[in-house]
């Protein structure tokens, strides 16, 4: 073949390829990127969790997060609650609470939200909602006025206001309409049972579309349209923001902060430093293995470099854990500090002797700790590997085991010594530390995976449940932390995650909710 003929063929191939690409390009859909200056009247959120239907028991907790449902009280910054559907919630006696509704409220279907409607829905939650039933056993509600409801608890319960503001406890909906449409997703949408500023107009496996609720009185909705897309793939959510197809990508991985640095098509935002309340807890299993000895648990407490975890290992997207509670809480104690010398002293005192390879052993048995992590929280593996490196310096051999179902693995009393667990020491509203204490440390607690039986702590939790005075509560909380972290080392907090989002450039001023995940509360 001559050179000229070869050149002609190459040209032909290039031209054909270009035409193919051009044709493909013309067949594409325009990306319709909004300009940065466009006022926020439409919001498109990409999230990882799909909402299958609007059933309050199954998916009610999404209602306040995406604006289609409201709560009685609203958690705000600083560990405080403000009225939402209620005008006030006042304690009339140790076991009686008076709930006063705002006037002229209505569900999205037009039915008034009055005392009768509130009694219906609260009674339903007290009986059917398994998040509520163990926390308020024997509680009753009764209408005591057109807009007044009295809640009576079986025992003095300090955390009642927090429950009224909790997304999983008392999301408010039209119970009568719900009963008629229950079990039929399309009818649940048509029944407009919810109470929030935005009404769901369509729900498919791919997306939920919402429109402003006409005549909404609590706070007039600012958006003309709200779309929530369900995209499980984290990278696809971020790409959707970069390409102008979404405005907010929720639950991005920490690595996105690095990847988006310097880019102009998306911005990585997170909660202000020092405001994070949830993160990774080190759940300990003292029933078997080396952690049965409190001195080994003390060694872990002092052998972990909490500052390094937050600032270096996790790239500054986390706050340093200084104790069991976030430092901004009034009762938080700073009792988690890194001190390798002290850690080694505890292990020496417990009889664990360093061997030639640096690992300690006792009676020929190496000091090995099996540490669980899980793929649903990718950063848990990163933290676990960092702990492995940190604790090696004090002679502890950490074996990291990634498990698919960490709850199932931890329910087994044997086979693990510790777990890196995504959790929060205070509740979703950041106002109640008691219910997490009940769940984590009482014998019947749902999250007591370490099988902790501590009568002293149980008594304290019982006292906290019935204590209303803030000063007394803070004193008791200090005592609880002394037991949990300083004396018994039942558990530790490793680091606190500042909730991140990836936002479109026009939303670079978006404020990640400092408390709770009310993504559209600002709109």
């Amino acid at each position: 073949m001559s050179v000229e003929r070869l050149t002609r063929r190459v040209r032909l191939v290039v031209v054909l390829s270009a035409l193919t690409l051009l044709g493909a390009g013309c067949a594409g859909v325009s990306t319709d990127k909004p300009a940065d200056a466009t006022p926020v009247t439409q919001l498109r959120i990409a999230t990882s969790f799909a909402i299958s239907d609007l059933d309050p028991l199954k998916n009610g907790f999404w209602a306040p997060e995406f604006g289609f449902g409201a709560l009685l009280l609203q958690p705000v910054r600083g560990g405080k609650l403000q009225p939402w559907l209620l005008e006030s919630a006042t304690q009339a006696s140790p076991t009686t609470w008076t709930l006063q509704l705002k006037p002229e409220l209505a569900f999205q279907n037009g039915r008034p939200i009055d005392a009768a409607a509130l009694v219906e829905v609260m009674t339903f939650h007290l009986r059917e909602n398994t998040s509520v039933t163990p926390l308020l056993p024997g509680a009753t509600v009764a209408a005591t006025g057109p807009l007044t409801v009295t809640l009576t608890t079986a025992r003095p319960t300090s955390y009642v206001p927090s429950l009224l503001a909790h997304e999983s406890m008392f999301p408010i909906f039209d119970h009568a309409a719900y009963q008629k449409a229950k079990g039929r997703p399309a009818e649940l949408i048509a029944a407009k049972i919810w109470s929030g500023p935005y009404t769901v107009t369509a729900l498919t496996p791919e997306a939920m579309t919402l429109a402003p609720t006409p005549g909404y009185r609590v706070s007039p909705p600012k958006l003309e349209k709200l779309t929530v897309r369900f995209i499980p793939e984290a990278q696809a959510r971020i790409l959707a923001v970069q390409n102008g197809e979404a405005d907010l990508a929720l639950y991005p991985p920490s690595s996105a902060a690095r990847e988006l640095k310097g880019r102009t098509d998306a911005v990585y935002l997170n909660q202000d430093a020092g405001t994070a309340a949830e993160g990774f807890q080190l759940v300990l299993n003292p029933r078997t293995g080396p952690l049965a000895d409190v001195r080994v648990r003390q060694a872990l407490r002092f052998g972990i470099d909490y500052g390094q975890l937050a600032t270096q290992v996790l790239g500054g997207q986390y706050d340093t854990a200084v104790g069991f509670y976030p430092a901004f809480l009034p009762y938080a104690k700073r009792n988690q500090t890194f001190d390798a010398v002290k850690a080694s002293q505890f292990l020496d005192g417990a009889g664990w002797v360093r061997g030639g390879d640096g690992t300690r052993s006792k009676g020929g048995k190496p000091l090995t700790v099996t540490l669980l992590s899980y793929p649903q929280q990718p950063d848990s593996k990163t933290v676990a590997v960092a702990l492995q490196a940190q604790l090696r310096t004090i002679g502890v051999d950490v074996q990291v085991r990634q498990v698919d179902d960490i709850a199932a693995a931890a329910k087994n009393p044997a086979g693990w010594d510790a777990a890196v667990w995504g959790n929060g020491a205070i509740d979703w509203t950041q106002t109640d530390p008691v219910t997490p204490l009940v769940a984590n440390f009482t014998p019947s607690g749902d999250n007591n995976y370490g099988g902790i039986r501590d009568p002293q702590l149980n008594r304290l939790i019982g006292q906290l449940t019935e204590t209303f005075d803030p000063a007394t509560r803070d004193t008791l909380m200090g005592e609880a932390q002394r037991i949990i972290v300083e004396e018994k080392v039942h558990s530790l907090y490793l680091t606190l995650k500042r909730v991140p989002v990836v936002a479109a450039p026009r939303l670079r001023d978006y404020q990640v909710p400092p408390v709770a995940l009310l993504w559209v509360a600002a709109y």
Partner: protein
């Protein structure tokens, strides 16, 4: 011929039966108690023993394994694949509502792959060992070795973000099918084009092609009239298997492109340990594969008697020789 067809159908049914046992075992061998898992999904985190027992009965988890398998198989034969533990809706409806999107993606991917494979296969076979053949071989290499999610992500980064064409979020319509279909088609086309090239070269060596060439048939006529029909039978068999595999959904590609098909739904089912969905998806995939393979085999037998079993051929030859 009827005996051959019956035997082939019998093989397909036996394959389906073995597949169904494996699929059913997913639930039977899964760690943990499915009843407790379903109750936890429905917000019952600390169920009573009675609640667990009732849920076990409802899920068909009580009784001997053989009886349970029988009940499950009978249900599956009626199209009852159970209820999703996550959504609470029948798996049949969940898969059925997503199947059109997967069929659309499959059709587009197969059309693209066929077009590219026919073009590249014919070009490569027309100049074996020369630069077009080498160039196509080189181009096919990355398409074959790169995982589809890497190809998908590269296409999203380059075509969507840099060239500002197409969308990240696919809605399952024809207007958003091109990129996911292209991702699926690339590796498939690379394989198919190599098989077609080999088939064409083999067909070219046949005596009747030599005769046609000696009688002055042109290159185009030789390719289209003599080589291609003879190379198509093995090619169609491979295409059929590829189509069958695609019909079962393309979980990775559907996930990368947020394509609302059965594959992506299966990935969600796996992530949330929604075993009835995983079972239903696996059964759908196996059935599609077996059914399409059966149809392709039967077509191949009809088109080319050489692919029929030897005993049938002998009968036919003896009859034709009479």
């Amino acid at each position: 011929m009827i005996i051959v067809i019956a035997r082939r159908v019998g093989q397909a049914v036996a394959t389906l039966a073995v597949g169904s046992v494996l699929v059913w075992s997913l639930l039977a061998l899964a760690p943990g108690d499915p009843a407790r898992r379903v109750l936890a999904t429905n917000n019952v985190t600390s169920p009573t023993a009675a609640q667990v027992t009732a849920k076990r009965v409802e899920l068909g988890l009580s009784g001997q394994p053989v009886a349970r398998y029988g009940r499950w198989l009978a249900g599956a034969a009626r199209g009852d694949l159970g209820t999703s533990w996550v959504t609470g809706r029948p798996v049949r409806h969940e898969l059925g509502s997503r199947l059109p999107a997967t069929l659309r993606l499959t059709a587009a991917a197969v059309a693209l792959a066929l077009g590219v494979a026919l073009l590249l296969g014919c070009v490569a076979a027309s100049a074996p060992g020369r630069w077009p053949d080498l160039a196509i071989r080189l181009a096919a290499l990355p398409a074959l070795v790169l995982p589809s999610f890497v190809v998908g992500l590269v296409l999203l980064q380059v075509v969507v973000l840099r060239l500002a064409q197409f969308r990240v979020i696919s809605d399952g319509s024809w207007s958003t099918v091109f990129l996911p279909a292209l991702t699926l088609a690339l590796a498939t086309a690379a394989t198919w084009s190599r098989i077609l090239r080999a088939g064409l070269l083999q067909a070219r060596g046949a005596p009747h092609v030599e005769v046609a060439r000696a009688r002055g048939a042109g290159r185009a006529r030789l390719l289209l009239v003599h080589d291609l029909p003879n190379a198509l039978v093995p090619f169609l068999t491979v295409v059929g298997a590829g189509v069958a595999a695609l019909l079962g959904g393309a979980p990775i590609v559907e996930t990368v492109f947020t394509w609302p098909g059965v594959g992506r739904f299966a990935v969600q089912g796996i992530t949330s340990r929604d075993l009835p969905v995983v079972q239903g998806y696996a059964l759908l995939g196996i059935t599609a594969y077996v059914a399409v393979s059966l149809v392709v085999d039967l077509i191949a037998m009809a088109v080319d008697p050489r692919t029929a079993p030897a005993s049938t051929r002998r009968v036919r030859l003896s009859r034709s020789g009479r």
